[in-house]
């Protein structure tokens, strides 16, 4: 069973992404967080417990309270202490090249995906994540 964290404040997008993930033949559970702060405090609490940590994080950039960038700053510090190797994908509606460039400064970021994310792309990510990465 794979664990996926969706960090996104947009309920419609979360609903639609859940549906797409559900339609891929891959057993997984999806947890959602409405902003960066909620996600980072959960991850920080559970950093020792590999079973409670996700395999994949999908991170939105534009969120209230703590946006995606601030989440990345804190997550980069937290990452070495996490008992699991997590793939993190930015999933943003932004088409700004500056934001794509900016994301490259974060080693923790696996890739920058622009919404809408195709079912095929999600399946590929889930497929890749089947291989133990470390």
């Amino acid at each position: 069973m794979k664990s996926i964290f969706l960090i996104d404040d947009d309920p419609i997008f979360v609903y639609l992404t859940r549906r797409i993930i559900g339609s891929i033949n891959c057993p997984c559970e999806v947890h959602e967080f409405k902003d960066g702060e909620l996600a980072i405090s959960y991850l920080s609490q559970m950093r020792e417990e590999a079973d409670s940590l996700p395999d994949v994080i999908f991170l939105d950039l534009s969120m209230p309270v703590m946006d995606g960038w601030e989440f990345l700053n804190q997550y980069s510090e937290l990452k070495p202490k996490l008992k699991k190797d997590i793939a993190l994908f930015i999933v943003s509606s932004s088409i700004s090249p500056q934001e794509v460039e900016r994301s490259k400064n974060y080693l923790a970021v696996t890739d920058f995906l622009i919404k809408p994310v195709e079912k095929g792309k999600l399946a590929e990510i889930m497929g890749n994540e089947k291989e133990p990465t470390g």
Partner: protein, 403 residues
């Protein structure tokens, strides 16, 4: 002996020697002197008519010659010959600092032996600033001794004014550019996000064969469309404010403004049991575009209500203070407050949201800031988390005449 005379006698000597070589017989003195006078008048005329300041100094920085471009008044022009800038400043009862400045430039040219260039700005008797581009360069004789220092200046006031205008334009343009980048980011995040949702929903509706499911998906379209519409309107409004440079100011009564705001928010005020206090005794009228002032007050009061501290009855107070040609309006509340240490830099930025509130989009404060700054004012905030916030707006209260 004036500079011109000295030059002339030099020319005369060399001319004579040439003449003597060529025509050793007997020179026609009268003709020669006539020619010399014509030449002298010719050169003097050129120096006097050149639309530049010309001044020639001896090695001790005493004036040998000035043209009418440099000193228009004939009496002063005669006085200065053989004097230095200190004597001239005393004569004209002028500030000695100008003489200090000129002496420093002279010494620089004398000591380096090179041409020096600088710009100086002076106020003319009419009170406007005149800027000159000045140059000064030493001239040496056959023995390598400093014989003269020539200074000249060109009035570059027009160019200077143009440069200042251009600098102001550049500042304005780069501010516009920042706005444009903000705007692109907002279009990208806030307009594209609902569009993506709509297109994904439509894809699902098209590929679904279950009528009930289709109905459920269609019901999810409505809030997305509404959200897109609202965002779009707010963006359009913000652009209009930026373009409304010619917007009309009026004397707006703050009490009227408040009444309108309270009427509009009555339902929320009643629901929360909010108390609103006003003290406009120092300034009760602000000269401002009425729709901007309404929007500013409405926005701040509505924010105070929206971000009230749970379980605490909102208390909102508005107060004006008059300071010289400014009016400061403060709006304070006992609400949630904001952690300014975390959010100071992007407090008034578009799309920034600080609380988990379903209707927070991050447009309100951005619009308020836009309304304030479009009219040359300032807005800032003080806040303590869990205790409340105070917003301050500084209005320029000098009455501006419509052009």
């Amino acid at each position: 002996m004036s500079f011109i005379h000295r030059l002339n006698s030099r020319w005369r000597r060399s001319w004579r020697s040439k003449q003597q070589q060529a025509k050793a017989e007997e020179p026609d003195h009268k003709l020669v002197l006539e020619q010399l006078d014509r030449q002298k008048a010719f050169y003097e005329n050129i120096l006097n008519k050149l639309p530049v300041d010309i001044a020639v100094f001896d090695a001790e920085h005493r004036y040998l010659f000035v043209n009418p471009g440099a000193i228009g008044n004939e009496e002063y022009r005669k006085y200065i010959i053989g004097k230095d800038d200190y004597e001239y400043a005393a004569y004209r009862k002028r500030d000695i600092s100008v003489a200090h400045g000129r002496r420093a430039k002279f010494m620089e040219a004398k000591e380096t032996g090179k041409e020096i260039r600088w710009e100086d700005s002076l106020r003319n008797p009419q009170g406007s600033t005149i800027t000159h581009m000045r140059r000064m360069f030493p001239v040496y004789d056959e023995n390598g001794e400093l014989s003269l220092v020539i200074g000249f200046g060109i009035d570059i006031t027009d160019r200077k004014i143009m440069e200042e205008k251009q600098a102001a334009l550049v500042t304005q343009l780069s501010a516009r550019n920042t706005q444009l980048i903000d705007f692109c980011s907002i279009v990208s995040h806030n307009l594209r996000a609902p569009l993506v949702n709509m297109s994904m929903l439509v894809d699902f509706i098209e590929s679904s064969e279950d009528t009930e499911e289709q109905k459920m998906l269609i019901s999810k379209l409505r809030p997305v469309v509404d959200n897109l519409h609202a965002t779009f309107n707010e963006l359009v409004e913000s652009i209009q404010v930026r373009q409304d440079l010619e917007i009309k100011r009026e004397n707006v009564s703050l009490d009227d403004c408040m009444q309108r705001t309270i009427d509009g928010l009555q339902t929320e005020i009643n629901k929360l049991g909010a108390r609103i206090e006003t003290d406009f005794s120092e300034a009760s009228v602000i000269n401002y575009p009425p729709q901007y002032l309404n929007s500013i007050i409405q926005n701040l009061v509505s924010n105070s209500l929206k971000y009230h501290y749970p379980g605490r009855k909102p208390l909102i107070s508005l107060k004006t203070q008059k300071m010289q040609d400014k009016i400061i309006l403060s709006v304070s509340d006992n609400g949630l407050g904001i952690d300014l240490a975390k959010h100071k830099d992007n407090f008034f930025k578009i799309g920034k949201v600080f609380h988990r509130h379903p209707n927070a989009k991050g447009f309100g404060l951005y619009m308020t800031k836009t309304h304030v700054e479009a009219m040359g004012g300032r807005i800032w905030v003080e806040s303590v988390p869990d205790e409340g916030s105070v917003f301050y707006i500084e209005f320029d209260n000098r009455i501006k005449q419509a052009s």
